[in-house]
Every structure is written in C-alpha cells, then in structure tokens.
Amino acid sequence: MQQSAYCRLNVRELTPYGEANGAQGRFFALRLERPAWTGWNPGQFLMLRPASFGLEIPWARPFGICDMTENCLTCFFQVLGRGTQRMARLKPGDEVSVWGPLGKGFALEPDTPTLLLAGGMGIVPFVGYVKNHPKPENVTVLFGHREPLNCYPADSIGERAQWESAQERAPEDRDRFLSRVRERMGECAGKNGLALACGPLPFLQTVRRFSQEIGARAQLSLENRMACGVGACLGCVAQRAGGASVCACREGPVFWADQIVV
C-alpha cells in the first residue's frame, strides 16, 4: 500500500512576528518536522490539526504552504478564531496532524514575466514561489498589507525578486495600491506575462475585474471555508464560469481568473 498522505509531525518552533510593532501573539511562523512528501507546488495547501484540539475543535485548518526545506515544513498563521488561538500556544515537541500537499498550486512559467499580487496573509504561498522559481529575475512582487511589514514572512522575498510593498493606513492608501496593481497588471499583460493573486476576497474580485478589463492572464487563490480538504465535505464549493460547482480544495485553490466566479 502507498504511504498515507496523513501524518503526525512534531512542532520544531513557533516564531512570533511583528512583536516590535505591538502585534504580540497575533502572527506566527510554525515550523514542523518535514513530512515524507515527494514534492509540492507553491499555492498548494495542507490541513493542520494540533492534537490539543481534542474533540472540542473537530476541523483541521487549511494553510498555504509557506516553505519546505530538507528538514522543515513551514506554514504561517494569523490568530483569528478559536483554532488559531489554540495554535498560538503550541510548543516545540507538540504533535500536530497534517495531510497534504493538497489541491493545485500556481502556474510556473520560468521565462514568463510573472507578477505576484499579495494582500495581507496572501503573501505566504509566494515565499515558497519566489524561493523555488528557477529565474526569480522574471518575478515582481506587489504586496499590500494593513499590519506593519514585519508581521509577515516577507523578508526573504526581496532578496530574490523585485519587490514593492505598501501599508494601508487609510482608505486612500488602498485606492493608491489598487491603482498600482492595475498599472503593474497592464505592464505585465503587455509582455504576455502572468499575474498571480492571493489575498482577501475583495482583493481577488478586484484583480479578476482588472484582468478582464486589461486582458491579462491571471490566477487567483481562493480561501473558502472547508472541513476536510479532500473533496468530501462540499463546504468549499465555488462556481466555474460556466456554472458548474467545483471543490476549491481539489480543483483549486488556485484557479484561472476567467474560469471561476469570485
């Protein structure tokens, strides 16, 4: 029998981010033992469930894979609900269940000018994307965020790819950022480039609209609520442009913008 895609891993390290800027206890990099995966693609995700959830918190939580090295799997989370609150108390040696890698990741075209559009926590899968890109000189990252920059695992990206970030402190900052997104998407489309987006739903909706207006090739990573991650609970369904229902966990979470309704 093949090896199960389900495994139990020990926590190596839980590293808080953004503490210098008053974000104590809200942003964390979670480093786990490396699972016995044969490979993964940036944009794919995993289901993660600490043993400490017991039966009280039944669902695992989906997280985009941030990075995987020879001995370490990294994901990144922001504390938002009761699951991530409990995850914020993980200690080295604690056990977590993991299944993955799941779904379909981002398109990778080494020689194509590629624009990565990230909103907030949407930066996470792009850490691995930039790191694993064979020609990072073709990659440009545009990152909009509300919290201070050091709350996010963005430090390694600028070392390899062109990098531009903007913090939203007021509503007009967002308008300025989105204008910049449109401008960059236009340049990208002019070079027959590829735009990849990950972030909150309104951000994805805007990127999709821009891609239609400009005629830019774009992919969007959806973040729908899900219980299982494998296509059984039918909680994460999205609508194809033609109307058919698809599970974001199996057919996505990354979709071509012109093929999905957001």
Partner: protein, 308 residues
C-alpha cells in the same frame, strides 16, 4: 479474532468483512480517500447521497464548525445516478468491499425509479434510503417523520430493487424513533441505520446573521454521540432487523459502545473530517480494542448492556 459481520435482512443479507462503514456525505464517493488508506480494508463504503438527476445543492456557507461537532446544509449536491454509475462505481473496488449507495428522492415514485436503476448495477451491494435529510425543502425529513410515508418509501424501494439489501436511515428529529423503525421494518427494510444529523442552528452575533445560508442544518460529530447511542438502544429493542449505529463515532472504543447498545455495524461520519484515515484506523484497531475490553466476539458484546 473474526470481526466479520452478516447483516441478516428480511430479503437480502449483507456480508461485511468488518463492522466499519463510512457515513454518507462524509466520504465522497470513496475515491477521495484512497491517499489515506485501503478502501478494501473497510467493511463498506456508503457513498454521498445520489438523486435521479444532478442537484446543485444549497448556497454557501453550507458548513460551520460548532463545539465538538459541525452543522451542514449542503443540500444533497450530487452529479446524479448516471454519472455515478458510469464514472465512479467502476473505479471503486466493489468486488472487495461493499459499496452502499445512499439514495434521495422527492417522491415515492422517484425513489422507486432510482432504486430500480441501481438494482441492475452489480457493483452496488446495498441501498441506504435517505428518508431523513434535514436540508432539502421538499421531502427528506417529511418521509422520515411520518411512519406511513417512511413505510411507503421503504416498500417502493424494496419492490424496485429486489436484488439489493435495503437499509433505511432514520432521523432523530422525531417524537418516537421506534415507531418509524417498526414501520420501515414492517414495510420490508433489511436494516436501519441511525441516526442522521440532528437539526440545529448557529448564529453570527456580530453580524446578526445565521451561520448557514440555509439558516438551519444538520448537527454531526462527537457532540451527537449520546443522542445516537440512545436511538440505537431504543431501536435495537424495538425491531428484529439489524441496526447500524452512526453519530459521533471516531475511535474503536466508540464503535464497541454502539455494539454494546445493540448495533451490528457502525458508520464513521464526521470522524473522517477530523482525520481522513479515521475509518481505516478504526477498522484496523478494532481487534485490539476487543481484546482490551474483554470482548470475545462481536456477537457476545452486542446488546449485552447490563441493566441490573
């Protein structure tokens, strides 16, 4: 230790290599779970509810996590019986594991047509009749809440699918579950599975909105285990046909508790979301759990609850 089970029906028996089945709606068509275990190691696979025609299901949000459980109002989204028979069933290892098809229809006549269509499929071992879905506007729950309606559906399926074991899934959302159980037994059911989800609701206080687009949904998971155990206990004493326990079962000990209360087999539902290998590991761990609790055979354990 031999943990094989025969569900002795009034018309058709169902032989299982072990008493561990998956619960409908929590295990897809089975194929979704092949990365997590060997389907042939299970007693049976109950596939996602099928209807005669494809159904789009309810709008999202359709699922919400609750304490020790979850609510769902998926609304029986499925591709319809033809797609299942043409594309899914041939890919399942049905010669090695019992494939049980959960069926849903909006009328007695439609139930009969669906059952007749599946009666001709060699790969289908049994039909599980869904008379208790709480999440669709027309049907489901109504059939399961009225003994006469439940009997009419059971009789229609029984007659339309003479070659199949007919299992009827009972709703806990009734005043007296034993009256429904007796009615479907009298109408020819080979076994009953209990329970379907418990009707529930969650709200988002800050938004002042229901947590589910459908407002209400079916509660499942460890939170409903005591309700399910009570229903199995009551039904097992009320009918002679086998009872399949379902509701919050996540480990071998849970399964043995249901068998102690009178079940012949069990279904793992929301447990498959807690960990995708839940049913596989439960089946693998059952012999050791029997030894741990001094169970010499499942027959010996079944219904041996001491009341003195």
């Amino acid at each position: 230790m031999d943990i094989s089970v025969t569900l002795r029906g009034q018309t058709r028996d169902l032989v299982l290599k072990n008493p561990v089945l998956t619960a409908s709606g929590t295990f897809g068509n089975g194929l979704e779970f092949t990365p997590y275990g060997d389907l042939a190691s299970l007693g049976g696979i109950v596939v996602k509810g099928l209807s005669l025609e494809p159904r789009p299901g309810n709008p999202c949000p359709r699922i919400v996590e609750t304490v020790a459980g979850m609510l769902n109002a998926v609304g029986l989204q499925n591709d319809g019986v033809e797609v299942f028979c043409r594309e899914k069933l041939p890919a399942l290892p049905w010669r090695e594991v019992a494939v049980i098809v959960n069926i849903y229809a909006a009328s007695v006549d439609e139930f009969a047509r669906l059952a007749a269509r599946l009666d001709g499929e060699e790969g289908v071992a049994a039909l599980e009749v869904n008379v208790s879905c709480p999440n669709v506007a027309h049907g489901g729950a109504l059939f399961g809440q009225d003994p006469l309606q439940a009997a009419a559906v059971t009789r229609a399926v029984r007659e339309a699918a003479p070659r199949k074991h007919v299992m009827v899934k009972l709703s806990p959302n009734v005043t007296d579950i034993t009256s429904i159980a007796r009615a479907v037994e009298d109408a020819g059911a080979d076994s009953v599975s209990c329970i379907n989800t418990v009707l529930g609701m969650a709200v988002d206080l800050p938004a002042r909105r229901p947590a589910l687009a459908n407002v209400v949904g079916g509660l499942s998971g460890p939170a409903i285990k005591p309700v399910a155990l009570r229903c199995v206990w009551q039904v097992a004493r009320a009918v002679k046909i086998p009872v399949i326990g379902v509701g919050g079962i996540v480990c071998a000990r849970d399964a043995l508790e249901f068998i102690l209360a009178g079940a012949r087999a069990v279904q793992v539902g929301t447990g498959s979301f807690i960990r995708p290998d839940c049913a596989f590991s439960l089946a693998a761990e059952l012999p050791a759990a029997c030894e741990q609790f001094g169970v010499t055979s499942l027959d010996e354990l079944r219904g041996s609850l001491r009341l003195d």
